[in-house]
Amino acid sequence: MTATLVDQPQAPVAPATPRRGSGGRAVARVVVGVLLAGYAVVSLYPFLWMVSAALKTREEIIGNTGLIPRSPTLATLVDTWDRLNFFGYFLNSVGVTFFTTLGVVVVYSAAAYAFAVIDFPGRTALYRLFLVLLFVPAAVTLLPIVLLENHLGILGGHFGLILPFVNGTAPLAILLLTNAFDAVPDELRDAARVDGAGEFRIFATIYVPLARPALVTIALLTAIPTWNEYLLTRVSLNDASAYTLPIALQALRSEQTIQYNTLMAGALIVVIPIIILFLSAQRYFVNGLVGAVKG
């Protein structure tokens, strides 16, 4: 993040001819600008069309295939939000996402602390076990989860979503957080011990604050997929009042013919909150990911 910029494009290829060099530099700068702006458009492209369709009326979505709505209206958005009780689904999504994220941060920061700094028999084997789970396909555990939860009587509720979501994030969370805790100098722990601090205090007052970027990172890497989760939610929820936003959106789609203005209004309602969450935490996020990967 600091001064380690790789500013090759500015490098003059032939220093002997300064005029051509500076001309080349200007050309390079334009090319760089065009490429960066181009990919920004590519990144936002589906999102732009989502906004465009959501602002169109039922008549306009058929008649006007252009990006810019002729008479933009918020009526479709308001109507979709009200008529389909999106506020209820929104609260469901917030609840499931919040408790899943909380669970992941609490459970796996503790586990990662043990893997990174405490000596105990079986440590390496357990750590490897959790990493291997990264390769178990979702499709193979989906059905057993449904059957198990049916036995336990938690199928169909939000708790039945949160537990497998937390467990499913284990490999990634342990990987990132173990690396982050490992980067904390040993001396801090030794010094705190001399002062008489117990293991839990060392964890809570030294390691957790120092690993905050990594914790924010794993919180986001949990919250984003959980917010958008569709597969397990789809096969386990029956009662419409428990639906999360993606399932409510799917239900919108199943209705008769596709009304793209309504559908895109619903889609917009699904993505806006998570985009806001990401933007408000992205500063920590990027640094945390970089730090965690550096190990």
Binding site: A28, F115, T124, L126, L131, L143, L147, Y230, V270, V290
Partner: protein, 322 residues
Amino acid sequence: MTAASSEAVAGAVSPLGRAGRGPHFRRREKAWGYAFVAPALLLFAVMGVYTIAYGFTLSFARWNGFSPRWIWVGLENYIDLLGGSPVYGPPVRAAALNTLWVMIAVPLLTVAVSFPLAVILNSVTRLRTVLRSVYFIPYVTNGIAIYFAWQYIYEPNGAINGVLGALGLGSLQQPQGFLGNPATALPALIVVMVWTAVPVAMLLYLAGLQAIDPALLEAAKIDGAGWWRTNRSVVWPLLTGTTAIVVLLNLRDALQGFQVFLIATNGGPGDATNVLGLETYRLAFLSELAPTLGLASALGWMLFLVALVIALVNQRMLRRLR
């Protein structure tokens, strides 16, 4: 940087190498170690062990989900899937072929887009933070909502056909829409997958770029290497570890992921976009009363095995490179 990360991703012990206190673990420390991992283990025991054991056992049985008993069939499910059954073999083979295309195209295109993007982004100072956030939006919105938006722009009178018309490339337009034509549906979904994979790959490359010693680049410059030479002969080899992680993560997603296929095309038109992950899901949840749950499990475990082998090969190759 890349060394540690790739090791860690591939399941090595790098962050654990701190032992050094000999074989005699201190008892209190031991107890604390177990106490800290206990919640994670407990959850894994409830949600993980049962589901994995159940799924694995089921892969040796025939069951439709309703009948009271399983019929043990040994390895028959695996054999059927590998071509032994005239009913289940052909669709699996077709899905495997589609999956193979995805596994080749997605990692390759993701690296081809994200590496240059990261290099260019790293060379500018103005707007870098803003652009990085913008480039990350595809990952943040990755889910059913954005798949619907892609469906919308792939429609017969959607945005992509519109752009092609405006550019005078009307011959490339798809009158049935890009997802409606069996020839273009798979490439169209590969584009969506690459689009969602680029953000994380780009961030990993950015992290790698910032860890490169500026002196090395300075030396290349003094030796007269231009922008292209420096990046090809100095930067790219230095980031081999990052490339390995990006390829591994995308191979796994290409092999096992199927959400976009389920939502955007449901494998169609015909079976043009059916992939192995989706086939697993179909066998498990969409085959009504047919006794295909064991087959679904067996297929899932084969996908696990392939992913694991890929990860191990990846790790081995990295080690040899070092």
